[in-house]
């Protein structure tokens, strides 16, 4: 399998959030009005204007406190359940870019059932804008297909974010994992086989974020299951109908 992938090395992250800001700057997303909740994680969650979010966690083990930073974003699943849900409602609501494998939502995603799309995502990524469009990280597809790095990767001053051809990224991930294993026996890569955004964590992923790893049972809805079975036939019929 080719295409592109991210490597997000959480052990290098210092939580400066420049990835989060660079994402907003490139995508021209407005700020979100928030209030002080006693955490540096701000805004508290993804929203219609936030596709990238650094999540902050403090984990206590005995007398030692670990601070976990998790630069959360869309995983660009190789077989994306959200795309299935959107496709079953509107044609062209979600696109899988051929060259990179990026999953990109379009304006047409307005017509898709948002609740289903969100609940189908094993990582709880999609959010909805006020106008009904469903949004998330686009892999900076406009930048990437013009030979640039995604805005977040470009901005990262710690070398925690990497982007490139999948094989290269996988090799880099394995190498970095081997290095970290010596100091952190729990170091692991998350959902490597199924996603294009590969996280490298040094502790229990659930302690970083509830949805750091794919939910154990994504709960495929009947509609989606049907879509998966008959998808090719439906696409073929649509092609014929469009003529």
């Amino acid at each position: 399998m080719s295409g592109k992938s991210f490597l997000i090395d959480t052990s290098a992250c210092m939580a400066c959030r420049s990835c989060q800001v660079a994402c907003k700057a490139w995508n021209r997303n407005d700020g979100t009005v928030t209030r002080n909740r006693g955490s540096h994680q701000n805004p508290p969650d993804f929203d219609g204007n936030t596709f990238k979010l650094v999540r902050f966690r403090e984990v206590r083990a005995g007398n030692k406190v670990s601070r976990y930073f998790f630069s959360d974003q869309c995983r660009h699943c190789i077989d994306a359940p959200c795309k299935d849900v959107i496709d079953s409602a509107v044609t062209g609501g979600a696109i899988q870019d051929k060259a990179t494998g990026a999953i990109v939502y379009t304006e047409k995603s307005k017509g898709a059932p948002f609740k289903d799309v969100r609940s189908e995502c094993p990582y709880d990524i999609p959010r909805q804008r006020e106008d009904g469009t469903i949004v998330k990280c686009t892999m900076c597809i406009d930048r990437v297909s013009n030979g640039l790095q995604p805005a977040c990767v470009k901005a990262c001053p710690m070398g925690g974010l990497h982007f490139g051809d999948r094989e290269e990224i996988l090799a880099r991930a394995e190498k970095r994992l081997a290095t970290l294993k010596a100091k952190y026996p729990k170091a692991q890569l998350l959902n490597v086989e199924t996603v294009r955004t590969i996280y490298l964590v040094v502790g229990d992923p659930k302690e970083y974020h509830k949805f750091a790893v794919a939910s154990a049972n994504p709960g495929v809805t009947r509609k989606v299951a049907l879509r998966r079975m008959f998808g090719p036939a439906i696409d073929a019929l649509r092609t014929v109908a469009r003529g």
């Binding site: 400066c16 959030r17 420049s18 989060q20 800001v21 660079a22 907003k24 700057a25 490139w26 077989d79 696109i95 899988q96 870019d97 051929k98 060259a99 597809i141 406009d142 930048r143 297909s145 013009n146 640039l148 805005a151 470009k154 901005a155 990262c156 001053p157 710690m158 998966r228 079975m229 008959f230 998808g231 090719p232 036939a233 696409d235 073929a236 092609t239 014929v240 003529g243």
Partner: protein, 190 residues
């Protein structure tokens, strides 16, 4: 109805074998190829230095060639200091130029007033100079309590100025010393 060869393969392939193959791990659903336009494609690129802290990261400022307005800013990959990376403040620097909240003229609030009044720069500079003179004359100490000559101004302090370069700072601090200030601080230490 016009059928291209690709469509034909898609239809015949997916309609017959597609169902069976899909279950075997082969996905014949079409994967679209799109062309994506870069929004900074025609922009003019100008290298600049981040105005915030003393690190001095390089930034490329993309401006619209027609309107001259800033479209986007990002780290300068050729700059030796940051090599393309930026911190959260530097990454948001385009908001300096594109910001409805930005103050574009001198605003003055008189003592005990609750209103801001727009003034011109000449007025403001004269006012500042007048206040500096007044405060310095009032707080100037020629000799300390033991009779030693100190010639210092205790009523004014200077803080900040990260956007100034080395030479500007030298001139600035020379002026402050000439006034007799001893409380001089730079943002790099704050």
């Amino acid at each position: 109805m016009k059928l291209t060869r690709r469509d034909f393969i898609k239809i015949s392939g997916t309609a017959t074998a597609g169902l069976a193959l899909n279950g075997m791990g082969l996905d014949l659903r079409p994967v679209e190829a799109y062309s994506w336009e870069l929004r900074t494609r025609d922009a003019k690129e100008t290298p600049t230095i981040c105005c915030y802290c003393a690190v001095g990261c390089g930034i490329i400022c993309h401006t619209d060639t027609k309107t001259g307005k800033v479209i986007y800013t990002e780290g300068d990959a050729d700059h030796p200091i940051n090599q393309g990376a930026l911190c959260a403040k530097g990454a948001s620097v385009y908001q300096l130029a594109r910001n409805d909240e930005r103050v574009t003229e001198v605003l003055y609030r008189a003592p005990y007033s609750s209103k801001w009044v727009a003034k011109d720069w000449d007025w403001a500079l004269k006012k500042i100079a007048g206040n500096v003179k007044k405060s310095r004359d009032a707080s100037f100490v020629a000799k300390d309590e033991k009779g030693r000559v100190v010639n210092r101004c205790e009523g004014i302090a200077s803080v900040g100025s990260a956007a100034m370069d080395n030479e500007e700072l030298w001139v600035y601090q020379a002026m402050l010393r000439a006034l007799g200030l001893s409380s001089i601080e730079h943002q790099a230490r704050i």
